[in-house]
Symmetry: C2
Subunit: 399 residues, 2 copies
């Protein structure tokens, strides 16, 4: 990626905010507590500066001190620092076609709670769905509060195209131009959370996958299978949201230009060939749930295996397009595709091997999501935590 050069002069005034984040992320990066001296050595800041910044972060409850390990050599062992596992945390909420979910991630990145409530939302008004969501969230927030966690913000995931808090279109919910941020704000006074973000579910799941990984700058296509199909594109450790925020619409990549009609108005979209309903119908399990498909596939039932191969092949054609365009090295099967990965990975890999021009020398790994079906809600909650790590200054007491 070509990075345009940042054209801001470096001024003293922004240094404190910059360096607060630097110190916080340095502590966050390691698996073990680090000392103030470690932070100074690792960041290049002076010990005096580190000391001042650490005191601020301790005061704001973002860091905690841990007792030094027992003395093993000469000298006084240093007090260690680690991220606070109590205090500020992130709330993730998800609206999907047939469920709502809520989750909490603490500052260390640990998932503290995930709750799902199933309900088919097709035909219901956004207000009714938000009422359900907020009712679920209230319980989650109360439980988290009992655990010493306060919500620094909330991110709400929806299976649709989102800009500035408005769901422009969520075809599988039948929503158009729903101001979801306003609806959540209106109904969530009891939650006491001012910072509300609305985002596409596949984007948030991809962020969850990104933050769950250990690679420094991973590149992957996260495919989110729910009732519809979405995707998050991560290149060099960055989520590509698209020029206007509407990227990642893998479900509407064309598979067959003259193919069957899609509910979006076009013909031959991936979603026509690889959605959950088609998968179950082709497998002869119309109306059954996913668990049943897994059971049939495990038992080697021919229609189930055929259906999975067909759907995997369609996913692979679309994934190969993405690989040709963005040269991503990994395809992550998420949502309903995660538990089906044992059967989908092969046909997806096969199509990529055949269709990606670089596949000969630049292989692509296809694997299940590390976070499974909770990726979206954990990713949503994690995105709130990430924002604190990226810019901790606003979360500290005024100086």
């Amino acid at each position: 990626m070509t990075h345009p050069v940042r054209d801001e002069p470096v001024r003293q005034g922004s240094l404190r905010a910059h360096n607060l984040g630097l110190v916080l992320r340095h502590v966050a990066a390691g698996p073990r507590p680090v000392s103030r001296a470690d932070v100074a050595a690792g960041t290049g800041l002076t010990k005096a500066t580190v000391s001042t910044l650490v005191d601020e972060l301790l005061g704001g409850g973002l860091l905690v001190e841990v007792d030094p390990p027992p003395r093993t050599g000469a000298g006084r062992p240093a007090v260690g620092l680690r991220l606070a596992s109590q205090g500020p945390a992130g709330l993730g909420l998800e609206i999907n076609v047939d469920y709502v979910a809520a989750g909490v991630v603490d500052l260390t990145g640990a998932s503290r709670q995930v709750e799902v409530r199933h309900h088919d939302h097709r035909g219901r008004s956004p207000e009714e769905v938000v009422d359900d969501l907020v009712a679920l969230a209230e319980g989650t927030v109360a439980a988290a509060a009992a655990d010493g966690l306060t919500m620094a913000g909330v991110a709400v995931a929806v299976p649709g195209l989102v800009a500035d808090g408005v769901v422009r279109r969520a075809p599988n919910l039948g929503w158009r131009d729903v101001d979801l941020a306003a609806a959540v704000r209106e109904r969530s006074a009891a939650l006491g959370i001012a910072d509300i973000t609305i985002d596409n579910e596949a984007n948030l799941a991809a962020l969850g996958e990104l933050h769950a990984g250990t690679e420094a700058r991973p590149s992957f296509l996260y495919i989110s299978g729910e009732i519809g199909i979405g995707a998050g594109l991560v290149l060099d450790g960055r989520l590509l949201r698209g020029a206007r925020g509407y990227g990642g619409e893998l479900g509407h990549v064309t598979i067959r230009p003259d193919g069957a009609h899609c509910h979006c108005g076009a013909r031959g979209c991936l979603e026509v060939y690889a959605n959950q309903e088609v998968l179950l119908r082709t497998a002869g399990l119309d109306g059954a749930d996913l668990g049943r498909l897994v059971a049939f596939a495990r038992a080697g039932a021919h229609p189930a295996l055929m259906a999975l191969d067909e759907v995997g092949s369609a996913l692979g054609v679309a994934a190969a397009d993405v690989v040709n365009l963005l040269d991503l090295d990994t395809v992550v099967l998420g949502g309903i595709y995660a538990p089906l990965a044992p059967w989908l990975a092969e046909p997806v890999s096969r199509e990529i091997a055949e269709r990606a021009i670089t596949s000969e020398w630049a292989p692509v790994t296809v694997r299940a999501s590390a976070l499974g079906t909770s990726a979206t809600v954990i990713g949503a909650a994690g995105s709130v935590v990430r924002a604190i790590l990226d810019a901790p200054a606003p979360h500290l007491p005024r100086r």
Copy 2:
């Protein structure tokens, strides 16, 4: 796009280099000469700092002073600064299937020379082609030197997949694993240019288009039609090269999964339906040149118009995939497609309107490349100039 936070501490040592670029780019940004006071006001640096940095840039020949405009009010008019149109410049070279080209861009971004030499390179060895290229370049560099320009670096464009100076595969040239950087270095001692970059032709053309534009952070798909089809993806003012540098392979996006065989080994790639040969053949102009197709289209000849509609439709299906994935707001028709844009734009737009899920409220503009058929070589030369503006310090005399 989500930008990961940069985790470098801000140290005094990097300030000079950072601020040199800041000053240089501030001068570069305006259409008119600016004074030292303008630079100070625009960058937030002190006048004293600006003065020191400007002196360094004048000394290195990157800036020049211009006489102040005649006095119009009170006070002494300030001396203006602008980029030097003599001195360091960029050399762009292009190897394509049926020509080589060379171009020079000066520090102001002005194209100073473009030369093209036609020759069908299919079946020739990389060494023979590089010999031709270097012979052309020697003339170009000599002419530029007579004009007061010295080449700060050279970027070589090839229609293939490139990594670290090696052309991994250029299917239409029949090249595999050609160390082009080494080949150019070996043969170009006479050019006296140490800094040699090899890059994909569509990427360089997209950079040319990016730098020719006036928008701050444009997003577009640049489609490069030559014998093959390539693309450069620009999102928020950044060229997306892909995780391993092999992105932009629009020519191998699948149009019909069971379609005709492509030379790449896959079936139904865009290149099968929209390349130059197919276009001319469908138009009943097999073996003719592009000018003839344009003449027939202008005259309203039915087969020519049909062929252009078919090819435009195939391009549109692939472009719609890109719009669905990256939500780009502009499609730029480059290379051979630039002069054909009057006939291709409509079918491309039509397919995008039908297939991009956001097209209803997030329109996509389809237009010809601003640089026409010289985009690649100008983009290549411009990329050298851009590197100077991004980091001028190495181009200045040692302090």
